[in-house]
Symmetry: C2
DNA sequence: CGGAATGGCTGGCAAAATGCCGGTCGTGGA
DNA sequence: TCCACGACCGGCATTTTGCCAGCCATTCCG
């Protein structure tokens, strides 16, 4: 399953950078025929290496300018409690992602909301009311940087 | 810039779910003409709402089966130290993303490595050697779930 | 050692999608 | 009322996709 050769790695790298480039462009950059490239991509998808393609959206445009990380401790530490909390947290619209952790905290929630008032409301209305939560700690995010850098922006007059 | 109407929101939602679907498919689901949909997507890109498209890759296929969150405290808390650490952390291949935080911790690093030995090596070789680091705490990630479906946050500009 | 089977790559072709352009409709202002 | 303006639509040339048969290197096996 995790058999990924050099060509596969290059395909993955290019698709991580820009998932919307055409198969022809992909093949051109890799120096292989488009049909070869297409079959490689399909094989990677079939094997579960490529799990999907997602657009990267500016949070501000969606009224989610304030982001925070919330460390959560739950009790008791049973599978039922953990699974239930994980699913319900994931279902909240403010929650971008849920981490289940080993160590001092049991969960880390990455949340995005409109402003600080909404963050406060989220903590009080969504978290404090849950009985299984033994405690939580919130850190507002000043900046966030991904290593998968924003790709080339498709420009209508782009020359190459 | 954050002028996003109902149609734009639907486009964003669909592209977050699957960024590789064709413009025709997108238009069909929205009930508009393909040319209309294409112009909308380009306008969203031009305005910076859509920042890019990225493939979602299974970490196991890239020898990144072990992921962890590392809380870091640096001293002194100056802009120079923070910016330097942020940039250098982001340049490390093991680091997926860097959060600059308000609160008890100054940074949170999301790292992905091959196994626990490599995690240990990362902590010792990359972090412990840095003088500005006052302390750090590592939490191994058992599970992570992303939110790729949601997005109707209660917002004052959403007219419905 | 030789022959055949296997897997991957290539090029080309029909079908589909993209990108562009002019036309149409509905709205708001003078 | 009339006009300007923006958004949407439909169609057409060009590009891209998806598929297929053939080629070549490697490997397996007699």
């Amino acid at each position: 399953m995790p058999v990924v050769d050099e060509l596969d790695s290059e395909i993955i790298r290019l698709l991580q950078t820009d998932a919307r480039q055409s198969n022809r462009e992909l093949a051109r950059r890799l120096g292989v025929a488009p049909s070869t490239c297409l079959e490689r991509v399909r094989a990677l998808t079939r094997r579960g290496v490529i799990r999907g393609y997602h657009a990267d959206i500016a949070p501000a445009a969606l009224n989610r300018s304030v982001q925070a990380l919330v460390s959560v401790q739950v009790r008791p530490l049973s599978r039922a409690v953990i699974d239930t909390f994980k699913d319900s947290a994931n279902a909240l619209p403010e929650v971008l992602s849920v981490f289940v952790l080993a160590g001092g905290d049991d969960f880390l929630l990455h949340v995005a909301v409109q402003d600080l008032d909404h963050l406060h409301a989220f903590l009080l209305d969504r978290l404090s009311k849950r009985r299984e939560i033994a405690g939580f700690r919130t850190s507002v995010i000043f900046q966030q940087e991904h290593d998968t850098a924003p790709s080339r922006l498709p420009s209508p007059t782009s020359a190459e």
